[in-house]
Amino acid sequence: MSDQNTHTLELVPTPLRARGTSGTWLTGMALIACVAMILGLLGLILFSGAGTFWQKPIEKVTLESGETFLGMRFRTENNPEMGLRTLYRVGNRDLGQQPFRWVDAIEIDKVANPQEAVLVERYEWGIWLGVPSRLIEYDDAGNETVVAEGPEAVLAKLPEYRKAAHERHARAEHIRSDKIAKLNHKLESLRLEELNARMRASDPESPGHLGYALWGVIAAICVASIVLAYRIQVPLARRLLILVAVLSAIATLVERPWAGRPLSSEQLASVLARTATEREELSDRFGEMTARVAEIEAEDARYRIEITDPKTGRFAALSQSQPDEPMKVSQIIRIVEANELGLAGKLSLYVARWWEFVSSVPREANTEGGVFPVIVGTLLVTLLLTVAVVPLGVMAALYMREYARQGIVISILRVAINNLAGVPSIVYGVFGLGFFCYGIGGVIDGGPDPSLVLRVGQWWVLLLIAAGVAFVAMSMSASGLRHKRNIWVGLAWGAVALLAIVAVFTTPYFEGFFRAKLLDGSPTFGTSGLLWASLTLALLTLPVVIVSAEEAIAAVPASLREGSYGCGASKWQTIQRVVLPGAMPGILTGAILAMARGAGEVAPLMIVGAVKLAPQLPFEARFPFIFADRSFMHLGFHIYDLGFKSPDSEAARGYVWTTTLLLVTLVVLMNLTAIRIRTKLKARFQSGQF
């Protein structure tokens, strides 16, 4: 019996469940599904994005009805209702036609690829498909001379004319963007100076100004108390001296006897007289510059080209209102003999188009031209957000890990920070608009809200109360740091911070840096812009940075910390020399996550600063170089705008893909750079050279 039993036991196969094979299959398939989805997404972006700029042949389509037209095959679909049909890009919007046209497959009689057909990319009105027929030159009297006739002759002559046109364009552009823009900027500052002067002339007497003597005494007290605070070792006296120094420093700064006096009518008149003369000078120079541009433009208008649409026999027009005038040579960006191009030609055209895409400004409601300002905006906002979020997050994490007592308060704080990471980004956007743009930005522009402003006496009482609380907090933390810290110290310092903020928002001394512009109806910082967008995104990514920095700091071995303390290092020295270098790879990981999240975020940006078209880049070659108050363009928002808000969705289609590809590439590049730095740091931390 027992014998048989053993025998049977050996024969029982291991059940499938116990063998674990199913687990391998299940997890493996889940992985394959994930990888397939991600690769599919990336592949689609790469394929569609990379295909956009590839030149397709120009087809001459003859329909059953006898109608012929030139077009480029855009895409073909098998529509269950309409049957097989093809979308042709036909351009030639000047003729009053839609630039895209659906053609049913059964309608088409025959398709040819005419050698002489060219594609013209223009600065305005989209593409034009046609056959070059004449190149014309006008003399000063307006008599026309035909320089070349017929497609081949025109195309042979054209490069030389285009080169000249290009040079003229560059000259005009230089005058416009450099000289005229500078003049405009000067005129604007003159206007603001006048506004400011008028405003100050109508101001009431500014609050309680001290005489020079009293002000000097206060300034001297400030200096003396700083010096004494350094010398005196008695803690109580030192604390008092520090507070006196801070208060007298504030008084010295806000009560400057020479500033803030209203202008007398004579002073106002003299300012206005000076600005008037300056404006006259500037206007003269302005006229001179516009005359020079006009001269160049008149020269430009002498060289014309006729590119004829075979269907109507009409040529590309000079402008919408002058349909009978042929276009100027200078209106051409690029002329492509699409059906003559070999592979090399197509490749160089492809590269040239990508270069144009990344290096030039958008045209035609963003559906043509490039995305250079969009790239700049994205990079800048990401850079600023990183600069803002990493130091702040790391310092917060350091306090939580190195200084704070690990108790219930810190645990609650930690959970709260983790949860902040899950708040929808649009909420941050709304908060950013309310807090940064209207709150802080409003104060920067026009000073605190008049209904909140205290009288001078009241404000100083508030400051004295703050100083009193600060004294208590200083005393508490001085005695508390050596022994047990308690929550009251934190509360006292919190109260000091709160009173300081209240003091800023109720000060009678500050009337804003950009009051003139505000009165003019154009807020500077009191509206959405680059700075507030970056800070909003910094707030959004702060939890990620704090959590990863805290983990990295906690992962630095306690033995290293003890070794450092054992050598007589202070806490701050230990943090600086041992903890931070050790935690740096982890901190960088957090920074990478923050950057990637910030670069790809759209929802909050729509509220706090990204726009469809920003006429000016957020930086210029004049002080202060970065104009953080300006609106900017952002790749994420640009994709949304092209895809869903474009007036011509078919024309924008290709650009949606290329912009997406660019954004993905940009994020990948930023991540790769950060990962490289991290790997280098890690290697240095673990072995090898230091």
Binding site: E562, G568, A569, F690
Partner: protein
Amino acid sequence: MTTQPTRPIESTVSHAVETGGAFEAARHKELAAIESVLDISDFSLWYGDKRALYDISMSIPRGKVTALIGPSGCGKSTLLRSVNRLNDLVASVRTSGEMHLNERSIYDPGVDVIALRKRVGMVFQKSNPFPMSIFENVVYPLRIAGERKKSVLRETCERALQSAAIWDEVKDRLHDSALGLSGGQQQRLCIARAIAVEPEVLLMDEPCSALDPIATARIEELIHEISSRYTVLIVTHNMQQASRVSDFTAFMYLGRLVEYGTTKQIFQNPHLPETEQYVTGRFG
């Protein structure tokens, strides 16, 4: 010991443990002749509610090696870390009693802990070189003290490395990472770092427990060499090591100092039966 407070003195260690009281250690008469550098008087320490040290009183002789032995959890490491107040980093620690280093108080409220730690070097159980070059590791205590002169740093580095008997092995790669050294070399580097600022006392917390026998032998040799210039207080689990390297030995048990005397006497002629049982391996 000059100040002995009046308290019930338990007759045996086990009785003291049962009643939760202190124990008056057996002190050998040879201790009367020493010149002490560190005086510990009635020192007690609590981790929260748990008492870890019970009224320890002992004097550490100048220029000698003193070993602290005893079974795990007897408080020897705690006592060692109290000397440079490293226990301050633990939030729940509370102490009573006093310690004096060269007549100067360690636990007085006005003591500058950072300055104290510069006078008391420490070598840890697990070697903990910083992730920097060998040179930067050795001069770390000088750097944090604000020393900038290249010549001073270089001289100190060479002297400390020579004292720690590792100069010949690393002199050609001073600017390589310290993490590339072997375990024994790393521990000698840590010793060099600890003696770079000429401390008054050198604390060693089981410095060989993570090392192989050959590296251990070298460290022991090194302790022997530096004991002529520094006072060494060493915690060890290894009784052979205590008998080999130390001049004086203190036996601790469950937070109490049990017996303290010359190493020779403790190992060959202990006064108390518990000590004898422990050093012969029958107890603990």
